[in-house]
């Protein structure tokens, strides 16, 4: 029930923020901040009360869900409201709440027009994302999937930068088209399951056991994968991302990079692998190759960009490649790395986007060529920029390193060649990351900008991000423990279905 309340809380706050904007511009901000803080508080409470019960017990099958809530919605079609959370969902909720608070804070001064409607959209995106992370009914999942799209479309097209309409349209077309493919697959699964068992339902747990012929399974899997790969901005479906990220307002970029991309990874882990274990195994080589291509191609494009925000956007493409590579390695090490990467990338890229947004607000340009030597004037911003640039190039001691090393170690067991190629991404990451430092903060002062350093509000935002990224680098276990059980369950399931219990055990032992 608490999960439903969370979603309702976000939606209600959104409406309230919209309504109050008639009287003042500051009210919607305060209301949104209060709402997201409350959200964060609730999720933190859940995290600390339940992460104890998520301690690895060795028995993955039992008690997978920490919280579970069912309510009938449209019984005629077997549609229910099923909300549930396990370690992964809780982690993602925590991330959502954290970034939600931050995105309200970074918009505090940036958004000046239609403040109420902005916060309405922001909170609805958060509600949609929350829905995606906790829905266990495929129809409800698809519904939430759409709920997060449309406000994001408005966010980009109303408060974005110069080329916003184009970017918003592109974003919408890509995600919507792929989302429809997923919906077709959901319906396909629904009918196949209904025909064979006589029970027409969208319930995830029920559909998990559906017996599918191999070609059918592969086709349905592709439908799901299409939506998630586009969301994950895998090359060659990545081209919406740089435009959308570049044109969105800072809060939009943070949410896009931090959460919307992650829904793709979440979807693959939560739905594609358990629903279609065999088809996923067939798809794995292709997916891993796509992942490696994304890593290198994204890095190459990032290196070539002159628009700072676009550069950061391509960094996301590169980092998402690691996620794809890790998911399809099908072992716990890589999968844990993927989860780590989801969190760490959200923090590091979010930090970079906030810095770029802050720069843009001060000097009205995102062209790298216009910057240079800014460290003298904005040392705090420079130091923060340095930290997040280092995180994005995978410096040990920061969160991204843990993620990447786990992913690559795991994927090395699955495919040596691909992992070695992917490791070249480390070098590429160095090139594009240090280019940011060199062109923006180091070097000669090209133009005498009269700018101020980070203020109190911005330092709170950046400071909290910095603490989190360092925490993730030094104490990753606090997160890895919480998701351990869930990951173990999924990896075992995939391997058992494909190799039979005997082989799965040996695989498990091999990875130990």
């Amino acid at each position: 029930m608490i999960l439903a309340w969370i979603i309702l809380l976000l939606m209600g706050t959104g409406f309230l923020a919209w309504l109050t904007s008639r009287w003042s511009d500051i009210l919607p901000r305060i209301i949104s901040l209060a709402g997201t803080l409350l959200f964060l508080g609730v999720v933190l409470y859940l995290w600390f009360t339940h992460s104890a019960s998520a301690v690895p017990s060795g028995n993955a099958a039992a008690g997978a869900w920490i919280i579970h809530y069912t309510h009938s919605w449209i019984p005629a079609f077997g549609i229910h409201i099923i909300l549930a959370a396990d370690g992964l969902s809780l982690l993602m909720l925590l991330l959502t709440a954290f970034l939600g608070v931050l995105s309200v804070l970074v918009s505090w001064k940036e958004i000046k027009t239609r403040v109420g409607f902005f916060h309405f959209n922001l909170l609805f995106i958060l509600a949609g994302i929350t829905g995606v992370f906790v829905s266990l009914d495929l129809f409800l999942f698809y519904f939430s999937w759409e709920v997060m799209l449309i406000p994001m479309y408005f966010l980009i097209s109303i408060w974005g930068y110069e080329n916003r309409t184009y970017a918003a349209g592109k974003f919408f077309l890509f995600t919507q088209a792929s989302g429809l493919l997923m919906f077709l697959s959901i319906l396909g699964l629904y009918f196949v399951h209904g025909r064979s068992t006589g029970v027409y339902t969208f319930d995830y747990e029920a559909l998990k056991g559906t017996v599918l012929s191999q070609p059918t399974a592969f086709l349905l899997m592709l439908g799901f994968a299409a939506a998630f790969l586009v969301k994950l901005s895998t090359v060659p479906f990545h081209s919406w991302l740089p435009d959308a990220h570049t044109q969105a307002p800072t809060a939009g970029s943070v949410l896009l990079a931090g959460l919307l991309l992650k829904t793709g990874a979440y979807g693959i882990i939560r739905f594609v692998l358990p629903l279609f274990p065999q088809a996923s195994q067939q798809f794995a080589p292709a997916a891993m190759i796509l992942g490696v291509i994304s890593i290198l191609y994204g890095a190459k494009l990032a290196y070539a960009q002159t628009d700072l925000k676009r550069l950061v956007a391509y960094i996301s493409v590169s980092h998402m490649g690691f996620i794809l590579l890790g998911i399809y390695a099908f072992n716990q090490i890589a999968m844990q790395g993927v989860i780590m990467q989801m969190v760490a990338h959200a923090i590091s890229t979010g930090g970079l986007f906030i810095i770029v947004g802050a720069l843009h607000a001060r000097i009205q340009t995102r062209e790298i060529g216009q910057m240079g030597g800014l460290w003298t004037q904005v040392p705090k911003m420079g130091a923060m920029g340095l930290l997040f640039v280092l995180a994005s190039l995978g410096l040990p001691g920061l969160g991204n390193f843990i993620a990447e090393i786990l992913i690559l170690t795991g994927s090395f067991m699955a495919s040596k060649i691909l992992t070695i190629i992917a490791a070249v991404g480390f070098i590429a990451a160095t090139l594009y990351s240090l280019r940011i430092m060199q062109k923006v903060f180091y070097g000669t002062v090209l133009k005498k900008w009269e700018i101020t350093d980070f203020g109190f509000r911005e330092m709170i935002v950046m400071g909290s991000l910095a603490i989190v990224i360092i925490w993730l680098g030094l104490f990753p276990n606090s997160i890895l423990n919480a998701t351990q059980q869930m990951v173990q369950g999924i990896v075992q399931q995939v391997n058992i279905t494909v190799n039979g219990p005997q082989n799965a055990n040996t695989l498990q032992n091999a990875s130990r």
Partner: protein
């Protein structure tokens, strides 16, 4: 006392954090106190731990300290844990001790600079990471230190960030070493897949039972680790970053690019010696790389004008000696030379830094001269350092350390006459360029006036290091001269003894005499050419061969043409992402359809009527003939 091991590492980190957070608001003195103080405390603690280690267990049993479990995923469970044995203790000693001295020196050297606190924050961070590197009990933590020191090197090379050239040098250093690091990471993957652990000691114990000597996988792994080592230690072919790294302030060059970080490769190979012994061909490669490097870098050093560049190439060359030693299995000789080299090379860098500072940032040796009277302390200490570097016989520590390497290059079971000759040639070149530097800088006509005299904070470290460069050698004397083996015995708790084939004091005597003669010959030649000779201060016109050596054998040129330019070109041409063009192509096709159809909506009534008429005709035709 050894339970305080973590504090040695934590103190510099804490200092760095405090300076990074509060540096701006602290007065200079406070920042210096924190920066220097944290490392000095570390050094003092280290002395206690060291005494404890020597007293409590004469057998040299390693000390292990576990702080917390870092990662724990399905068998992948590196911890934040320290492992202290004689090898790491040597390194910790050099890092903290020389580190503290250099910090003290920097406090005076950097006093007038902007970003004083930032400088110390980076320096402390470096010490912390370097200690992490040498104390790590598993490869992942080692890698963390490894990358961390690379980062600090990057930050400090680019410390004067306003000059874009410094930034580029910093980037180059980081990127080139990252190439090696990536090879090393892949090596770690192989190790983990085979041993299911990253704990260094566990792997070293298991390796001989798991891998047959000379097996392919052992060779590949050793090569990958070697890749990391040559990147960090600036060996051929990844040596090109180090000369450019001289853009850093001089104390940084002394600490990072001479004494500590660049020898991390030596540490790595010594630490994983078991793996290298399992792959003899790789160990031979190590020796060959060292030999090639020491000649390549030595030749380049001969042609430099920038005093720091001479020292940089000299550093590359001296690490080449260490690699030769590692390659022939003379483990303790390599580490001994590392320690002595750290003393005299940081001394030389600090001395050079003083000279550069008092001459208003003048790097060109040909514009110096006659400084020996004006800066006596700097001169005498620099001279001692130079003698040690040239390995002048009997009195300098450099002689004992380098001579051992040259001797082992011949006498070890893996040694050969070629390596020995290369070592001798290197020794000759070393003496030549070293005294070229000394004569050009301190003798001859004064071409520039010192603006001030270095204070005590700057000269005290020089004196201490000069003493060590002189006296440090006596803890390890050759068999035929006193046979003092304090150091090698200490190291042999951890590393195997060197297997020598050639024996007998007679051969060793002859070899030592030859080595001594070679060094002195180099000195004499330098005296002939450079002592008190007038040289034009301007850059001379170089002939192609001189330019070739001056530019470090044109490695940079080749890399630029073969690697850098293609990458940049490839990035530029596809800046707008060909895949995106595909989608925009789709969109513009749809747009074309739109345009075509929109053209029919021209608002003309007759046009619509015509369309209706034609439609009627077509419909009728279909109805009639279908």
């Amino acid at each position: 006392m050894s339970e305080l091991l973590w504090l040695i590492v934590a103190l510099p980190f804490a200092g760095s954090l405090v300076l990074a957070l509060a540096g701006k608001s602290l007065p200079r003195l406070a920042a210096a106190m924190i920066g220097v103080g944290s490392v000095t405390l570390s050094a003092i603690l280290m002395l206690f731990v060291c005494l404890d280690f020597l007293h409590a267990n004469p057998a040299g049993t390693p000390v292990h300290q576990m702080l917390w479990q870092w990662i724990n995923v399905s068998g992948f469970s590196p911890a934040i844990a320290f492992h202290l044995d004689s090898v790491s203790l040597t390194f910790v000693f050099v890092i903290t001790f020389i580190g503290a001295l250099i910090h003290l020196y920097s406090a005076a050297f950097m006093w007038k600079e902007d970003g004083f606190a930032r400088f110390f924050s980076y320096m402390n961070l470096f010490i912390g990471f370097m200690l992490l590197l040498v104390l790590a009990d598993n490869f992942l933590l080692l890698y963390m230190g490894w990358e961390g020191v690379g980062l600090c090197s990057y930050l400090l090379i680019g410390f004067w960030y306003k000059d874009p050239g410094n930034g580029y040098a910093a980037r180059k250093a980081f990127t080139v070493t990252r190439v090696g690091d990536t090879a090393m990471v892949i090596g770690l993957f192989i190790l983990f897949t085979n041993y299911h652990t990253l704990n260094i000691q566990d792997i070293l114990q298991a390796a001989p039972h798991t891998w047959a000597p000379g097996s392919t996988i052992a060779i590949i792994t050793a090569y990958l680790l070697l890749g990391g080592a040559i990147g960090k230690s600036a060996q051929v072919p990844l040596q090109t970053w180090l000369p450019d790294a001289m853009a850093a302030p001089s104390p940084v060059s002394a600490l990072i690019h001479a004494a500590t970080m660049v020898t991390a490769g030596v540490y790595l190979i010594a630490r994983t010696h078991v793996l290298f012994e399992l792959a003899p061909i790789v160990q031979t490669t190590v020796a060959i790389i060292g030999a090639v490097t020491l000649i390549v870098a030595g030749m380049s050093a001969l042609y430099q004008h920038d005093i720091k560049k001479v020292l940089a190439y000299s550093t590359i060359s001296q690490i080449g000696y260490m690699f030769v030693a590692l390659g022939v299995g003379a483990w303790s000789a390599a580490l001994f030379h590392f320690m002595i080299h750290a003393f005299f090379k940081s001394l030389l860098f600090l001395g050079a830094g003083s000279v550069i500072a008092v001459l208003n940032n003048e790097h060109n040796m040909f514009k110096m001269g006659g400084l020996w009277k004006k800066m006596p302390v700097v001169f005498w200490t620099f001279l001692i350092g130079a003698c040690a570097l040239s390995a002048l016989p009997l009195i300098t520590a450099g002689f004992y350390s380098k001579d051992e390497i040259i001797w082992q290059a011949y006498a070890s079971d893996k040694g050969s006459i070629v390596l020995w000759l290369t070592g001798l040639a290197g020794a000759f070149i070393t003496a030549l360029y070293t005294f070229r530097m000394v004569f050009l800088t301190f003798f001859g006509n004064a071409k520039a006036e010192p603006t001030y005299r270095p204070g005590v904070a700057m000269t005290l470290p020089l004196v201490v290091l000069a003493f060590l460069s002189f006296a440090g050698g006596f803890i390890q004397l050759p068999d035929n001269m006193g046979h003092v083996t304090l150091f090698s015995q200490f190291i042999q708790h951890t590393l195997p003894t060197t297997v020598t084939t050639a024996s007998g004091h007679a051969a060793e005597w002859i070899a030592q005499v030859i080595a001594a003669i070679v060094s002195i010959a180099g000195l004499a030649l330098a005296y002939r050419i450079y002592y008190n000779k007038p040289f034009p201060a301007a850059e001379p016109v170089r002939n192609p061969i001189q330019r070739f050596f001056f530019q470090g054998w044109d490695f940079d040129l080749v890399y630029d043409k073969v690697i850098v330019q293609p990458i940049v070109f490839f990035s530029r041409i596809d800046k707008n992402d060909i895949i995106d063009q595909f989608y925009t192509g789709l969109a513009s096709i749809a747009g074309l359809f739109n345009k075509g159809l929109a053209a029919t909506q021209n608002g003309k009534l007759r046009w619509y009527a015509m369309a209706l008429g034609i439609g009627a005709v077509i419909t009728l035709t279909i109805l009639l003939y279908a």
